[in-house]
Symmetry: C2
Subunit: 80 residues, 2 copies
């Protein structure tokens, strides 16, 4: 079963990559942009028979490796 | 209006970061995983009055900077 783990920086944590992209976009002529943030999506195929098991595996992997919970939030969904 | 630009490697393009994460997950005891791919989501606040305009701006930014269309695909959506 295919799942997606979304990992994003918590509110209030500086995103230097997003800031750099925001500046570059302004330079390219895209004016009036608000905050730009760059997040990650990890797509994986997990060995699960049902959605609940797949989501549980995704959450375990996020806590173990995919997200740094000190500064990042994550959410898991089953891909359509 | 807030939009999200999803950027993913095209099928067939090697994702070394995904491969490394896949190996690390196996080492941590998550067995039987299929392919792991790591994609980007850029979240931006754009100055637009309607969804069509916001999506058009997102597409223009993706083509100009956010995605490398040689090896990456992108899609744009309005955030809820």
């Amino acid at each position: 079963m295919k799942i997606r783990v979304f990992v994003s920086l918590k509110d209030g944590v500086l995103d230097p990559q997003g800031k750099a992209v925001g500046h570059a976009l302004e330079t390219l002529g895209f004016k009036g942009l608000g905050e730009v943030r760059i997040n990650r999506v990890v797509e994986l195929e997990v060995p699960a028979d049902n959605a609940a098991d797949a989501l549980a595996q995704g959450e375990a992997m996020a806590r173990a490796l995919l997200a740094n919970e000190v500064i990042e939030d994550f959410s898991v969904e089953v891909a359509a």
